[in-house]
Symmetry: C2
Subunit: 215 residues, 2 copies
């Protein structure tokens, strides 16, 4: 096994280190964050740091870099209090990646990359029409992480839209059937193949492999 | 498309809602967190919430539920200040899942599930011998999230160990070649198949599909 120490890591070339460190956490989620400003100019940005915080209330977090590409995203969330998260499927992963280009603040990434904004009810943020599982969130907390000047945004899920066939009887959503992709590093995209669902683990009891339906 | 509102979500049966909401963020990382207490009793717990925070310094976050299974994990991190994160490969996903059983605090999950603790240098936390990519972290911040009583633990990466063939010339680690798995929902495990790496996105410029080596 290769062994790198913190001194070795500190000595790495900047972009090499970014690719390396971004590979360490494992596979990441691939989502598009949809927002708009008070004037209605839409913004769409790829994010691989969305993560589950809790189910009741239904909370999700994401890390935003104030000096990074999703800067408009944070400004818009502060203005409107609402945003959407749209899972990226294999059909739109190139368009999703292209949203990470540094477009001007007055340009909508939707048009630039060829994705379609759609709206529901009173949600003042655009969904991605092509996404098969998406939801809107009301912002709940914006927590600056002083340690490296990133920002943790926590939102509560308000509306969920999804292809109904993906929902299983026990509440599990088969996101593999939606061809949702996973990300590794900064730029690698992957489809998935299920090994198994596994039964609830208890001490001294063997696990059972479950079907996708949870049986 | 099926549409659920926040009222619909609030009305879901508790375990159904947990499975449903845990499916929304997309694919999650699969890692084992290794710790030990001041007496040297080891603990190992599965975590699907590890996420990248920054590359310089190299920071990673994870969400811990104080009333959940990784409770010992948090106690140990507070005692020793150090922990390991070990990527889960297809070879050990069942053992990894089994660590989520509620074992007694004086029992080591390593022995119970059949994984091997290994140590390096002055790191007072066990690595998983079977893991092909793993790293130790010095805890930097423990941030209670008042919104739902979970805890964000931020650590700085101090040692990285990995199968050397996975490292590409540009710093990308091919975690697919290590058979690292992805998680969906609470209990579904997936191997991956790379669609492509993609070139750095710039406005008005077509993306290129890159090989795993970044060419």
């Amino acid at each position: 096994m290769k062994h790198l120490t913190s001194e070795d890591i500190a000595a790495l070339e900047t972009r090499f280190r970014a690719r390396f460190i971004n590979s360490l956490s494992g596979f990441k989620s691939a989502n598009l964050v949809g927002t708009q400003d008070a004037k209605g100019i839409t913004n769409l940005s790829m994010i691989s740091s969305a993560f589950h915080i809790g189910a009741d209330p239904a909370l999700m977090g994401m890390i935003i870099r104030p000096d990074g590409v999703p800067r408009d995203t944070l400004d818009n969330i502060k203005q409107t209090g609402i945003y959407t998260i749209n899972q990226v499927s294999a059909q739109i992963y190139k368009q999703a990646h292209q949203t990470s280009a540094r477009y001007d603040v007055n340009v909508s990434e939707f048009e630039q990359v060829g994705l379609t904004a759609e709206y529901i009810n009173d949600v003042a943020a655009p969904f991605v029409a092509q996404s098969r599982l998406k939801f809107s969130l009301q912002v709940r907390e914006i927590i600056p992480l002083a340690i490296n000047n990133t920002i943790l945004v926590i939102g509560e899920i308000s509306h969920v839209l999804f292809v109904e066939q993906a929902l299983k009887a026990d509440g599990y959503l088969d996101i593999e059937s939606l061809e949702t992709i996973a990300v590794s590093g900064l730029d690698s995209y992957h489809t998935t193949k299920r090994l198994s669902r596994l039964s609830y683990a208890k001490p001294g009891q063997d696990l059972c492999a479950l079907s996708v339906d949870g049986d």
